[in-house]
Symmetry: C2
Subunit: 341 residues, 2 copies
């Protein structure tokens, strides 16, 4: 039998603050996968309770919460915190950055995780990749976007860092919480709104009031979710539990992307069936957005030494990844996408 | 303190037979990642020793080895075993099948894992996804392939199931172990050979004797590696250790793909720098190969009831995935690949 001393010794209870509501089963689900795996692997001796945004702290309060030890762990999209430092965006997604697989490769087998951990250490945080949505959609527009000129003065609900680029191409970025977007779009307070992709967007019903659905979401080609863990809480874990946390995060990482990929096609089909007009962004708008993004990054290189260091590595990795992906990966995908299947 | 009874009770030793040589650090490394994670999470109480191909049994003997309990676990590419039953290929890669992300989505969040486990149960095996190489290259050719006609009579070293399609388009598939390919290609015993991708291929030096390097490897758009575990050995594990095995496999799954993605670009650059001629397969060859593959699958539907059942699900999933991936994922990638980065 097992000695009672072992039980008593091993009991660990953590609280996890998510930046997401329970209704987003995809992305909120990533935190649940993580916590369930930790519980199962530890035989219930390491329990992490998962709390939706607003339950313990606001969605955008979770970095403060982990930093000051109010909670041991958060599950979030790091780019929400670019206002503290633009480098948070580098750990998640920047306009014209990496796609999902490339982000994972940079983190696990490039210098990404090492560089981001150096940065997060300033906030008493150690991070583990724990999910990705894949390339997001460009969002819902009340009117058709025929060229770059249509961006001028457009009030566009867009999350976080990407707003800096929207401003540079003539748009007016609006920061509106998820629950209030529908009403703003319906009333015409805003002209367009981006959220995530077909499966999550469908729940919010944007197709009823903004029929044009644009792609690609060039500001998030593969945004990564992370678990942010208070460094002191992590350091206090046994070597076994540290390894358990790492593997549980990897499990959440792989299953969240799989879940998005599995559920998006059906949602897109239903949306198109309901009359949604699926459109690519005009080429001149793509080009202008790319140019504006590169100019922004150049300016940040001069202002923010951490950005300069991390972005130099990321952009070199990005160039190499695209050189490779354009041949066999893109060749295979392009052929398959052209077939009648 | 910990009671001695707990220690004695928990000591588990497994042997893992890999189908790969140690020299393939990418793919052999997946088994090491898996075993190291299990060891770390269990505090050394669950030890898996990792053995290269040939050490305990031949590369292609590992399914028999797990089935009859000679080893508890194998790490392999299931399509090697299509001679036992074509369904093994469905759990790994078939010509014009799914890409890496789509395979993972089908397994974790579609019906893939459920259907494959039903099938593997006949072999006393329970499987866990544990790696993917991404889309492989189409291989090394001594002469340029200008059209479909150049496939006629071509002696092509190609692994496993894809040979059935090569035959149908006029080629002569050759099954030659990795270590003997170079000599066969140098002597002209064969005209072409495929292996994996730039990083693994570079080690074997094919570029010195067959200058044309083709893409895409349409017969393996995202081949999955698995850990195959003897069902009785798995059933004997505690719930904690079962969860540890699952998470360790997920960790191997995500890190192997990341590793391939991180190392392939540099190898491709070096190969091209050494004079390799990178070429897409001629369009008529792609089309004929696709047609021949679909005909083969129709025939198998009539002959093999398990194939019929699993392929029906996979092909429906494939159609939906390509519908979705062609818009925002492909749109983002295509734009990025066209930029000067």
């Amino acid at each position: 039998g097992i000695a009672p001393a072992v039980h008593a010794q091993a009991a660990i209870r953590w609280r996890l603050a998510s930046s997401f509501p329970k209704s987003l089963d995809t992305i909120f689900g990533g935190a649940e996968t993580f916590a369930n795996a930790v519980r199962a692997m530890s035989g219930g001796k390491f329990e992490i309770s998962v709390h939706a945004a607003g339950e313990l702290m606001p969605a955008f309060g979770v970095v403060d919460g982990v930093q000051n030890g109010t909670v041991e762990v958060a599950h979030t999209a790091p780019y929400y915190f670019f206002g503290k430092d633009e480098c948070f965006a580098l750990g998640c997604a920047i306009p014209f950055g990496l796609n999902s697989r490339q982000t994972t490769a940079w983190m696990y087998e490039g210098n990404g995780l090492k560089l981001m951990r150096e940065f997060y250490a300033k906030y008493n945080i150690i991070n583990f990749p724990a999910g990705n949505t894949g390339a997001q959609m460009g969002g819902w527009f009340r009117k058709e976007m025929k060229s770059m000129a249509d961006m001028k003065g457009l009030k566009f609900r867009i999350g976080g860092f990407a707003g800096k680029v929207i401003e540079r191409i003539g748009g007016i970025p609006q920061n509106i919480p998820g629950g209030e977007i529908y009403q703003a779009l319906e009333k015409g307070t805003i002209d367009a709104a981006e959220w995530v992709g077909p499966y999550d967007d469908q729940k919010l019903g944007f197709n009823k009031i903004a029929p044009y659905y644009y792609y690609p979401g060039w500001w998030e080609g593969g945004p990564q979710l992370d678990v942010f863990i208070n460094q002191k809480a992590f350091d206090a874990l046994s070597a076994e539990n540290k390894a358990i946390v790492q593997a549980a995060a990897a499990q959440a990482h792989v299953t969240m992307q799989a879940r998005y990929d599995a559920v998006n096609p059906g949602a897109l089909k239903q949306l198109v069936g309901s009359g949604v007009k699926l459109r690519p962004f005009p080429q001149d708008m793509m080009n202008a957005s790319f140019k504006a993004s590169m100019e922004l990054y150049s300016e940040l290189n001069g202002k923010n030494p951490s950005w300069n260091k991390i972005y130099a590595d990321l952009s070199k990795f990005r160039a190499e990844q695209n050189l490779w992906f354009r041949f066999t990966e893109a060749g295979f995908d392009r052929f398959m996408q052209a077939q009648k299947l």
